[in-house]
Point group: C2
Chain length 240, copies 2
DNA sequence: CTATTTCTTTACCCACGGGTAGGAATGCTA
DNA sequence: TAGCATTCCTACCCGTGGGTAAAGAAATAG
Protein backbone atom coordinates (compact mmCIF):
# COMPACT_ATOMS: atom_id res chain seq x y z
CA UNK A 1 0.00 0.00 0.00
CA UNK A 2 1.84 2.97 -1.30
CA UNK A 3 0.17 6.00 0.23
CA UNK A 4 -3.15 4.91 -1.20
CA UNK A 5 -6.35 4.90 0.72
CA UNK A 6 -10.04 4.41 0.01
CA UNK A 7 -11.20 7.68 -1.41
CA UNK A 8 -13.64 8.68 1.35
CA UNK A 9 -11.43 9.21 4.38
CA UNK A 10 -12.18 6.60 6.99
CA UNK A 11 -14.00 8.38 9.79
CA UNK A 12 -11.58 9.03 12.68
CA UNK A 13 -12.86 6.04 14.60
CA UNK A 14 -10.87 6.54 17.79
CA UNK A 15 -10.38 10.05 19.17
CA UNK A 16 -6.90 10.16 17.65
CA UNK A 17 -3.64 9.64 19.51
CA UNK A 18 -3.42 13.23 20.76
CA UNK A 19 0.02 13.57 19.19
CA UNK A 20 -1.49 14.18 15.81
CA UNK A 21 -2.38 17.82 15.39
CA UNK A 22 -4.01 17.37 12.04
CA UNK A 23 -7.60 16.42 12.40
CA UNK A 24 -7.88 17.50 16.01
CA UNK A 25 -7.13 20.85 17.54
CA UNK A 26 -7.17 22.15 14.06
CA UNK A 27 -7.22 25.74 15.10
CA UNK A 28 -4.54 25.98 17.72
CA UNK A 29 -1.85 23.65 16.50
CA UNK A 30 -1.71 25.11 13.07
CA UNK A 31 1.83 26.16 13.61
CA UNK A 32 4.30 24.61 11.33
CA UNK A 33 7.03 23.91 13.85
CA UNK A 34 4.64 21.98 16.00
CA UNK A 35 3.62 19.79 13.11
CA UNK A 36 7.17 19.15 12.22
CA UNK A 37 7.86 18.19 15.78
CA UNK A 38 4.92 15.83 15.72
CA UNK A 39 6.39 14.19 12.65
CA UNK A 40 9.69 13.66 14.42
CA UNK A 41 8.02 12.22 17.46
CA UNK A 42 5.89 9.88 15.41
CA UNK A 43 8.99 8.72 13.58
CA UNK A 44 10.74 8.10 16.88
CA UNK A 45 7.85 6.02 18.12
CA UNK A 46 7.75 3.93 14.97
CA UNK A 47 11.51 3.47 14.83
CA UNK A 48 11.23 2.45 18.43
CA UNK A 49 8.69 -0.22 17.72
CA UNK A 50 9.96 -1.67 14.49
CA UNK A 51 13.45 -0.38 13.94
CA UNK A 52 14.63 2.13 11.39
CA UNK A 53 14.81 -0.17 8.41
CA UNK A 54 11.54 -1.89 9.10
CA UNK A 55 9.68 1.37 9.28
CA UNK A 56 8.50 2.87 6.03
CA UNK A 57 7.53 6.47 5.59
CA UNK A 58 4.07 5.22 4.85
CA UNK A 59 4.02 3.77 8.34
CA UNK A 60 4.98 7.07 9.89
CA UNK A 61 2.43 8.89 7.79
CA UNK A 62 -0.24 6.38 8.76
CA UNK A 63 0.57 6.86 12.43
CA UNK A 64 -0.19 10.53 11.95
CA UNK A 65 -3.24 9.78 9.81
CA UNK A 66 -1.66 11.59 6.93
CA UNK A 67 -0.15 10.57 3.62
CA UNK A 68 3.49 10.20 2.78
CA UNK A 69 3.96 13.40 0.79
CA UNK A 70 2.71 15.32 3.80
CA UNK A 71 5.55 13.92 5.81
CA UNK A 72 7.91 14.99 3.08
CA UNK A 73 6.48 18.44 3.33
CA UNK A 74 8.00 18.76 6.78
CA UNK A 75 11.12 16.73 6.33
CA UNK A 76 13.41 16.19 3.39
CA UNK A 77 14.35 12.56 3.81
CA UNK A 78 14.10 9.52 5.98
CA UNK A 79 17.64 9.88 7.16
CA UNK A 80 16.96 13.42 8.29
CA UNK A 81 14.13 12.04 10.35
CA UNK A 82 16.48 9.66 12.11
CA UNK A 83 19.00 12.41 12.56
CA UNK A 84 16.49 14.71 14.21
CA UNK A 85 15.45 11.97 16.59
CA UNK A 86 19.06 11.43 17.48
CA UNK A 87 19.62 15.09 18.15
CA UNK A 88 16.53 15.30 20.31
CA UNK A 89 17.84 12.47 22.44
CA UNK A 90 21.41 13.60 22.75
CA UNK A 91 20.35 17.12 23.57
CA UNK A 92 18.97 15.91 26.87
CA UNK A 93 22.38 14.55 27.77
CA UNK A 94 24.18 17.68 26.74
CA UNK A 95 21.81 19.63 28.92
CA UNK A 96 22.76 17.40 31.83
CA UNK A 97 26.40 18.25 31.33
CA UNK A 98 25.65 21.94 31.26
CA UNK A 99 23.54 21.75 34.39
CA UNK A 100 26.19 19.87 36.29
CA UNK A 101 28.99 22.19 35.37
CA UNK A 102 27.76 24.69 37.92
CA UNK A 103 27.65 22.37 40.88
CA UNK A 104 30.45 22.53 43.39
CA UNK A 105 30.39 18.97 44.57
CA UNK A 106 32.96 16.23 44.07
CA UNK A 107 33.27 15.05 40.50
CA UNK A 108 31.82 11.65 41.32
CA UNK A 109 28.57 13.25 42.34
CA UNK A 110 28.52 15.34 39.21
CA UNK A 111 29.20 12.24 37.18
CA UNK A 112 26.38 10.44 38.92
CA UNK A 113 24.01 13.25 38.12
CA UNK A 114 24.99 13.13 34.47
CA UNK A 115 24.63 9.37 34.36
CA UNK A 116 21.20 9.57 35.87
CA UNK A 117 20.06 11.99 33.21
CA UNK A 118 21.79 9.87 30.63
CA UNK A 119 19.83 6.83 31.71
CA UNK A 120 16.57 8.71 31.66
CA UNK A 121 17.31 10.00 28.19
CA UNK A 122 17.97 6.51 26.92
CA UNK A 123 14.69 5.35 28.41
CA UNK A 124 12.86 8.25 26.80
CA UNK A 125 11.05 8.12 23.50
CA UNK A 126 14.16 9.20 21.61
CA UNK A 127 16.45 6.81 23.44
CA UNK A 128 16.36 4.11 20.84
CA UNK A 129 17.10 6.47 18.00
CA UNK A 130 19.86 8.19 19.87
CA UNK A 131 21.55 4.99 20.78
CA UNK A 132 21.08 3.16 17.52
CA UNK A 133 21.58 5.85 14.96
CA UNK A 134 24.36 4.26 12.98
CA UNK A 135 26.76 5.92 10.67
CA UNK A 136 26.10 3.20 8.15
CA UNK A 137 22.54 4.33 7.67
CA UNK A 138 23.41 7.97 7.19
CA UNK A 139 25.09 10.15 4.66
CA UNK A 140 28.72 10.98 5.36
CA UNK A 141 27.87 14.50 6.48
CA UNK A 142 25.27 13.48 9.03
CA UNK A 143 27.39 10.57 10.08
CA UNK A 144 30.21 12.95 10.92
CA UNK A 145 27.88 15.21 12.82
CA UNK A 146 26.50 12.38 14.90
CA UNK A 147 29.92 11.03 15.57
CA UNK A 148 31.10 14.35 16.88
CA UNK A 149 28.10 14.65 19.21
CA UNK A 150 28.69 11.15 20.49
CA UNK A 151 32.33 11.91 20.99
CA UNK A 152 31.48 15.06 22.90
CA UNK A 153 29.41 13.06 25.36
CA UNK A 154 32.09 10.43 25.66
CA UNK A 155 34.78 12.99 26.32
CA UNK A 156 32.56 14.66 28.87
CA UNK A 157 32.26 11.45 30.82
CA UNK A 158 35.96 10.77 30.62
CA UNK A 159 36.66 14.25 31.86
CA UNK A 160 34.44 13.83 34.89
CA UNK A 161 36.16 10.55 35.65
CA UNK A 162 39.57 12.16 35.44
CA UNK A 163 38.45 14.97 37.67
CA UNK A 164 37.06 12.47 40.12
CA UNK A 165 40.35 10.64 40.26
CA UNK A 166 42.08 13.96 40.82
CA UNK A 167 39.85 15.14 43.62
CA UNK A 168 39.82 11.73 45.21
CA UNK A 169 36.15 11.02 44.80
CA UNK A 170 36.72 8.28 42.23
CA UNK A 171 39.00 5.29 42.55
CA UNK A 172 41.96 5.32 40.20
CA UNK A 173 41.05 3.67 36.91
CA UNK A 174 41.38 3.88 33.16
CA UNK A 175 39.05 6.76 32.21
CA UNK A 176 38.54 5.56 28.67
CA UNK A 177 37.55 2.00 29.49
CA UNK A 178 35.50 3.09 32.45
CA UNK A 179 33.61 5.59 30.35
CA UNK A 180 32.92 2.91 27.76
CA UNK A 181 31.62 0.58 30.43
CA UNK A 182 29.33 3.16 31.99
CA UNK A 183 27.96 4.48 28.72
CA UNK A 184 27.54 0.98 27.36
CA UNK A 185 25.49 -0.17 30.30
CA UNK A 186 23.26 2.87 30.00
CA UNK A 187 22.96 2.73 26.23
CA UNK A 188 21.87 -0.84 26.43
CA UNK A 189 18.82 0.16 28.40
CA UNK A 190 17.28 1.12 25.09
CA UNK A 191 17.38 -2.52 24.04
CA UNK A 192 15.36 -3.99 26.83
CA UNK A 193 13.34 -1.09 28.11
CA UNK A 194 10.56 -1.50 25.58
CA UNK A 195 10.02 -5.08 26.60
CA UNK A 196 10.35 -4.50 30.29
CA UNK A 197 8.92 -1.25 31.55
CA UNK A 198 8.51 -2.43 35.08
CA UNK A 199 10.67 0.46 36.23
CA UNK A 200 10.80 4.10 35.25
CA UNK A 201 13.82 5.55 33.57
CA UNK A 202 14.77 7.35 36.75
CA UNK A 203 14.57 4.19 38.83
CA UNK A 204 16.75 2.30 36.39
CA UNK A 205 19.27 5.09 36.27
CA UNK A 206 19.46 5.17 40.04
CA UNK A 207 19.88 1.42 40.27
CA UNK A 208 22.65 1.52 37.71
CA UNK A 209 24.49 4.33 39.44
CA UNK A 210 24.40 2.29 42.63
CA UNK A 211 26.02 -0.61 40.83
CA UNK A 212 28.62 1.62 39.23
CA UNK A 213 29.54 3.24 42.50
CA UNK A 214 29.91 0.20 44.68
CA UNK A 215 31.02 -2.49 42.31
CA UNK A 216 30.55 -6.19 42.89
CA UNK A 217 33.26 -6.85 45.42
CA UNK A 218 31.82 -6.71 48.92
CA UNK A 219 32.91 -3.70 50.91
CA UNK A 220 34.15 -3.91 54.42
CA UNK A 221 31.31 -3.89 56.87
CA UNK A 222 29.17 -6.06 54.67
CA UNK A 223 27.49 -9.00 56.26
CA UNK A 224 29.73 -11.95 56.89
CA UNK A 225 28.95 -15.60 56.86
CA UNK A 226 31.12 -18.14 58.57
CA UNK A 227 33.99 -19.58 56.63
CA UNK A 228 32.65 -23.12 56.47
CA UNK A 229 29.38 -22.14 54.88
CA UNK A 230 31.15 -19.91 52.45
CA UNK A 231 33.47 -22.68 51.38
CA UNK A 232 30.63 -25.10 50.96
CA UNK A 233 28.62 -22.65 48.94
CA UNK A 234 31.57 -21.68 46.82
CA UNK A 235 31.86 -25.31 45.82
CA UNK A 236 28.63 -24.95 43.95
CA UNK A 237 26.74 -27.36 46.16
CA UNK A 238 24.30 -24.60 46.86
CA UNK A 239 20.76 -25.81 46.37
CA UNK A 240 20.01 -24.66 42.82
CA UNK B 1 23.92 -4.87 -10.26
CA UNK B 2 21.83 -7.84 -9.54
CA UNK B 3 24.22 -10.78 -9.48
CA UNK B 4 25.38 -9.90 -12.95
CA UNK B 5 28.96 -9.89 -14.02
CA UNK B 6 30.90 -9.58 -17.29
CA UNK B 7 30.69 -12.99 -18.93
CA UNK B 8 34.37 -13.94 -18.75
CA UNK B 9 35.09 -14.24 -15.05
CA UNK B 10 37.48 -11.52 -13.97
CA UNK B 11 40.82 -13.17 -13.27
CA UNK B 12 41.33 -13.54 -9.49
CA UNK B 13 43.48 -10.46 -9.29
CA UNK B 14 44.50 -10.66 -5.65
CA UNK B 15 45.42 -14.02 -4.10
CA UNK B 16 41.95 -14.25 -2.48
CA UNK B 17 41.11 -13.53 1.14
CA UNK B 18 42.02 -16.99 2.42
CA UNK B 19 38.53 -17.39 3.87
CA UNK B 20 37.11 -18.28 0.49
CA UNK B 21 37.55 -21.98 -0.18
CA UNK B 22 36.25 -21.79 -3.70
CA UNK B 23 39.02 -20.90 -6.06
CA UNK B 24 41.84 -21.82 -3.72
CA UNK B 25 42.47 -25.07 -1.92
CA UNK B 26 40.00 -26.52 -4.30
CA UNK B 27 40.86 -30.07 -3.46
CA UNK B 28 40.90 -30.07 0.30
CA UNK B 29 38.12 -27.74 1.23
CA UNK B 30 35.58 -29.35 -0.99
CA UNK B 31 33.57 -30.32 2.00
CA UNK B 32 30.15 -28.85 2.12
CA UNK B 33 30.05 -27.95 5.77
CA UNK B 34 33.20 -25.94 5.45
CA UNK B 35 31.78 -23.96 2.60
CA UNK B 36 28.63 -23.31 4.48
CA UNK B 37 30.68 -22.13 7.38
CA UNK B 38 32.61 -19.84 5.11
CA UNK B 39 29.34 -18.34 3.93
CA UNK B 40 28.30 -17.65 7.51
CA UNK B 41 31.62 -16.07 8.35
CA UNK B 42 31.55 -13.91 5.26
CA UNK B 43 28.06 -12.80 6.15
CA UNK B 44 29.19 -11.95 9.67
CA UNK B 45 32.03 -9.85 8.34
CA UNK B 46 29.78 -7.95 5.97
CA UNK B 47 27.06 -7.43 8.56
CA UNK B 48 29.82 -6.21 10.79
CA UNK B 49 31.00 -3.64 8.34
CA UNK B 50 27.75 -2.35 6.94
CA UNK B 51 24.97 -3.61 9.11
CA UNK B 52 22.38 -6.23 8.34
CA UNK B 53 20.06 -4.11 6.27
CA UNK B 54 22.78 -2.42 4.31
CA UNK B 55 24.29 -5.70 3.29
CA UNK B 56 22.81 -7.42 0.27
CA UNK B 57 23.27 -11.05 -0.53
CA UNK B 58 25.10 -9.91 -3.62
CA UNK B 59 27.60 -8.26 -1.30
CA UNK B 60 28.15 -11.44 0.63
CA UNK B 61 28.45 -13.43 -2.55
CA UNK B 62 30.93 -10.94 -3.93
CA UNK B 63 33.03 -11.17 -0.79
CA UNK B 64 33.32 -14.88 -1.48
CA UNK B 65 33.86 -14.32 -5.19
CA UNK B 66 30.72 -16.25 -5.92
CA UNK B 67 27.26 -15.38 -7.19
CA UNK B 68 24.13 -15.00 -5.18
CA UNK B 69 22.47 -18.31 -6.07
CA UNK B 70 25.55 -20.06 -4.76
CA UNK B 71 25.00 -18.49 -1.39
CA UNK B 72 21.42 -19.67 -1.53
CA UNK B 73 22.68 -23.13 -2.21
CA UNK B 74 24.12 -23.22 1.29
CA UNK B 75 21.58 -21.15 3.10
CA UNK B 76 17.88 -20.76 2.69
CA UNK B 77 17.41 -17.08 3.44
CA UNK B 78 19.07 -13.93 4.62
CA UNK B 79 17.47 -14.16 7.99
CA UNK B 80 18.84 -17.63 8.48
CA UNK B 81 22.25 -16.20 7.80
CA UNK B 82 21.80 -13.68 10.57
CA UNK B 83 20.45 -16.34 12.84
CA UNK B 84 23.44 -18.58 12.31
CA UNK B 85 25.81 -15.74 13.06
CA UNK B 86 23.92 -15.09 16.25
CA UNK B 87 24.10 -18.69 17.30
CA UNK B 88 27.81 -18.84 16.57
CA UNK B 89 28.35 -15.89 18.85
CA UNK B 90 26.12 -16.92 21.69
CA UNK B 91 27.54 -20.41 21.67
CA UNK B 92 30.84 -19.03 22.90
CA UNK B 93 29.09 -17.58 25.89
CA UNK B 94 27.16 -20.72 26.65
CA UNK B 95 30.43 -22.60 26.53
CA UNK B 96 31.82 -20.20 29.12
CA UNK B 97 28.94 -21.00 31.44
CA UNK B 98 29.50 -24.71 31.03
CA UNK B 99 33.22 -24.39 31.66
CA UNK B 100 32.71 -22.35 34.79
CA UNK B 101 30.15 -24.67 36.28
CA UNK B 102 32.88 -27.07 37.30
CA UNK B 103 35.06 -24.59 39.13
CA UNK B 104 34.96 -24.57 42.87
CA UNK B 105 35.74 -20.94 43.46
CA UNK B 106 33.54 -18.18 44.84
CA UNK B 107 30.72 -17.16 42.55
CA UNK B 108 32.25 -13.77 41.90
CA UNK B 109 35.26 -15.39 40.34
CA UNK B 110 33.07 -17.64 38.25
CA UNK B 111 31.08 -14.62 37.17
CA UNK B 112 34.25 -12.80 36.26
CA UNK B 113 35.38 -15.70 34.13
CA UNK B 114 32.06 -15.73 32.31
CA UNK B 115 32.15 -11.99 31.79
CA UNK B 116 35.63 -12.20 30.37
CA UNK B 117 34.55 -14.78 27.84
CA UNK B 118 31.44 -12.75 27.19
CA UNK B 119 33.52 -9.72 26.38
CA UNK B 120 35.78 -11.66 24.10
CA UNK B 121 32.78 -13.12 22.29
CA UNK B 122 31.35 -9.67 21.73
CA UNK B 123 34.67 -8.52 20.34
CA UNK B 124 34.84 -11.55 18.05
CA UNK B 125 33.72 -11.62 14.46
CA UNK B 126 30.24 -12.74 15.46
CA UNK B 127 29.89 -10.21 18.24
CA UNK B 128 28.02 -7.66 16.23
CA UNK B 129 25.52 -10.16 14.92
CA UNK B 130 24.99 -11.68 18.30
CA UNK B 131 24.38 -8.41 19.97
CA UNK B 132 22.34 -6.77 17.28
CA UNK B 133 20.20 -9.59 16.01
CA UNK B 134 16.81 -8.06 16.56
CA UNK B 135 13.52 -9.79 16.77
CA UNK B 136 12.11 -7.24 14.39
CA UNK B 137 14.28 -8.47 11.57
CA UNK B 138 13.43 -12.11 12.05
CA UNK B 139 10.50 -14.40 11.61
CA UNK B 140 8.49 -15.11 14.76
CA UNK B 141 9.96 -18.57 15.10
CA UNK B 142 13.58 -17.46 14.95
CA UNK B 143 12.79 -14.47 17.05
CA UNK B 144 11.50 -16.73 19.79
CA UNK B 145 14.53 -18.92 19.54
CA UNK B 146 16.92 -16.00 19.83
CA UNK B 147 14.99 -14.56 22.69
CA UNK B 148 15.20 -17.76 24.63
CA UNK B 149 18.93 -18.01 24.09
CA UNK B 150 19.38 -14.44 25.21
CA UNK B 151 17.24 -15.08 28.22
CA UNK B 152 19.27 -18.13 29.10
CA UNK B 153 22.43 -16.06 29.19
CA UNK B 154 20.74 -13.35 31.20
CA UNK B 155 19.40 -15.82 33.73
CA UNK B 156 22.82 -17.40 33.98
CA UNK B 157 24.36 -14.10 34.95
CA UNK B 158 21.63 -13.34 37.44
CA UNK B 159 22.12 -16.74 38.97
CA UNK B 160 25.83 -16.22 39.45
CA UNK B 161 25.12 -12.87 41.05
CA UNK B 162 22.64 -14.41 43.46
CA UNK B 163 25.08 -17.14 44.32
CA UNK B 164 27.75 -14.55 44.88
CA UNK B 165 25.55 -12.66 47.27
CA UNK B 166 24.84 -15.91 49.05
CA UNK B 167 28.43 -16.97 49.44
CA UNK B 168 29.51 -13.47 50.36
CA UNK B 169 31.74 -12.89 47.38
CA UNK B 170 29.44 -10.26 45.89
CA UNK B 171 28.03 -7.21 47.59
CA UNK B 172 24.28 -7.29 48.10
CA UNK B 173 22.50 -5.82 45.08
CA UNK B 174 19.56 -6.22 42.74
CA UNK B 175 20.55 -9.18 40.55
CA UNK B 176 18.34 -8.17 37.67
CA UNK B 177 19.53 -4.62 37.34
CA UNK B 178 23.11 -5.60 37.98
CA UNK B 179 22.95 -8.24 35.29
CA UNK B 180 21.51 -5.71 32.87
CA UNK B 181 24.28 -3.29 33.65
CA UNK B 182 27.05 -5.83 33.22
CA UNK B 183 25.66 -7.35 30.04
CA UNK B 184 24.92 -3.94 28.62
CA UNK B 185 28.42 -2.68 29.12
CA UNK B 186 29.81 -5.77 27.46
CA UNK B 187 27.31 -5.84 24.63
CA UNK B 188 28.13 -2.29 23.80
CA UNK B 189 31.68 -3.24 23.02
CA UNK B 190 30.37 -4.41 19.67
CA UNK B 191 29.48 -0.83 18.83
CA UNK B 192 32.87 0.72 19.22
CA UNK B 193 35.26 -2.15 18.81
CA UNK B 194 35.37 -1.91 15.04
CA UNK B 195 36.39 1.70 15.19
CA UNK B 196 38.84 1.33 18.01
CA UNK B 197 40.78 -1.88 18.01
CA UNK B 198 43.60 -0.55 20.10
CA UNK B 199 42.98 -3.32 22.60
CA UNK B 200 42.26 -7.00 22.19
CA UNK B 201 38.99 -8.47 23.28
CA UNK B 202 40.67 -10.09 26.25
CA UNK B 203 42.22 -6.83 27.37
CA UNK B 204 38.92 -5.01 27.17
CA UNK B 205 37.15 -7.75 29.05
CA UNK B 206 39.74 -7.62 31.78
CA UNK B 207 39.54 -3.87 32.06
CA UNK B 208 35.77 -4.04 32.31
CA UNK B 209 35.81 -6.72 34.96
CA UNK B 210 38.13 -4.52 36.99
CA UNK B 211 35.64 -1.68 36.78
CA UNK B 212 32.72 -3.93 37.67
CA UNK B 213 34.50 -5.37 40.65
CA UNK B 214 35.73 -2.23 42.28
CA UNK B 215 33.20 0.37 41.28
CA UNK B 216 33.86 4.06 41.16
CA UNK B 217 33.83 4.91 44.84
CA UNK B 218 37.35 4.91 46.23
CA UNK B 219 38.08 2.02 48.52
CA UNK B 220 39.74 2.40 51.85
CA UNK B 221 43.47 2.41 51.54
CA UNK B 222 43.36 4.37 48.34
CA UNK B 223 45.60 7.35 48.08
CA UNK B 224 44.43 10.39 49.94
CA UNK B 225 44.88 14.02 49.14
CA UNK B 226 44.56 16.75 51.73
CA UNK B 227 41.13 18.15 52.36
CA UNK B 228 41.88 21.64 51.11
CA UNK B 229 43.05 20.50 47.71
CA UNK B 230 40.12 18.21 47.42
CA UNK B 231 37.68 20.93 48.18
CA UNK B 232 39.31 23.28 45.74
CA UNK B 233 39.32 20.67 43.01
CA UNK B 234 35.75 19.68 43.66
CA UNK B 235 34.76 23.26 42.95
CA UNK B 236 35.67 22.67 39.36
CA UNK B 237 38.54 25.15 39.40
CA UNK B 238 40.79 22.37 38.27
CA UNK B 239 42.87 23.45 35.31
CA UNK B 240 40.88 21.95 32.45
C1' DC C 1 -14.50 37.93 -4.90
C1' DT C 2 -10.35 36.90 -7.03
C1' DA C 3 -5.36 35.79 -6.50
C1' DT C 4 -1.80 33.79 -4.11
C1' DT C 5 0.32 31.07 -0.81
C1' DT C 6 0.16 27.10 2.20
C1' DC C 7 -0.88 22.55 2.93
C1' DT C 8 -2.31 17.91 1.55
C1' DT C 9 -3.61 14.63 -1.65
C1' DT C 10 -3.68 11.21 -5.73
C1' DA C 11 -0.99 8.89 -8.72
C1' DC C 12 3.10 7.62 -10.18
C1' DC C 13 8.40 6.45 -10.92
C1' DC C 14 12.11 3.34 -10.43
C1' DA C 15 16.19 1.40 -8.04
C1' DC C 16 17.19 -2.03 -4.98
C1' DG C 17 17.42 -6.43 -3.35
C1' DG C 18 15.49 -10.98 -1.76
C1' DG C 19 14.48 -14.92 -3.95
C1' DT C 20 13.90 -18.40 -8.00
C1' DA C 21 13.92 -21.10 -12.58
C1' DG C 22 16.47 -23.57 -15.28
C1' DG C 23 20.55 -24.80 -17.39
C1' DA C 24 25.64 -25.64 -17.73
C1' DA C 25 29.75 -27.50 -15.79
C1' DT C 26 31.88 -30.80 -12.91
C1' DG C 27 32.43 -34.88 -10.85
C1' DC C 28 31.14 -39.47 -9.43
C1' DT C 29 29.25 -44.23 -10.49
C1' DA C 30 28.58 -48.22 -13.15
C1' DT D 1 30.44 -44.07 -22.00
C1' DA D 2 26.04 -43.34 -20.34
C1' DG D 3 23.72 -41.73 -16.41
C1' DC D 4 22.96 -39.48 -12.07
C1' DA D 5 24.13 -36.04 -8.45
C1' DT D 6 26.37 -32.04 -6.97
C1' DT D 7 27.63 -27.46 -7.50
C1' DC D 8 27.48 -23.08 -9.50
C1' DC D 9 25.98 -19.72 -12.98
C1' DT D 10 23.02 -16.65 -16.17
C1' DA D 11 18.93 -14.53 -16.40
C1' DC D 12 15.01 -13.19 -14.61
C1' DC D 13 10.83 -11.96 -11.39
C1' DC D 14 8.48 -8.78 -8.51
C1' DG D 15 7.35 -6.65 -4.01
C1' DT D 16 8.84 -2.97 -1.34
C1' DG D 17 9.65 1.55 -0.29
C1' DG D 18 12.09 6.10 -0.85
C1' DG D 19 11.07 9.85 -3.32
C1' DT D 20 8.48 13.12 -6.72
C1' DA D 21 5.15 15.62 -10.00
C1' DA D 22 1.26 17.84 -10.25
C1' DA D 23 -3.13 18.94 -9.05
C1' DG D 24 -6.78 19.85 -5.56
C1' DA D 25 -8.36 21.90 -1.00
C1' DA D 26 -7.87 25.43 2.52
C1' DA D 27 -6.52 29.36 4.27
C1' DT D 28 -4.90 34.26 3.67
C1' DA D 29 -4.27 38.49 1.24
C1' DG D 30 -5.60 42.35 -1.48
Amino acid sequence: MNSRRPSPLPPPKTPVAAASPWRTNRERLRDRALKREAVIRAAAREFNRKGYHNTSLDDIAAALEVTKPTVYYYVTSKEQLLFQCFVAGVEQIRAAFRAVRELSVPARERLNAVLRHYGEAVASEFGWCMVRAEEQDLSPAMSRHIKSLKSEVDQGIRRLIREGIQDGSIEACDPKMTAFALAGALNWIAHWYREDQSLTGAQIATAFVTVFEGGLRPRRGALHIDARTRRRRARGTLAR
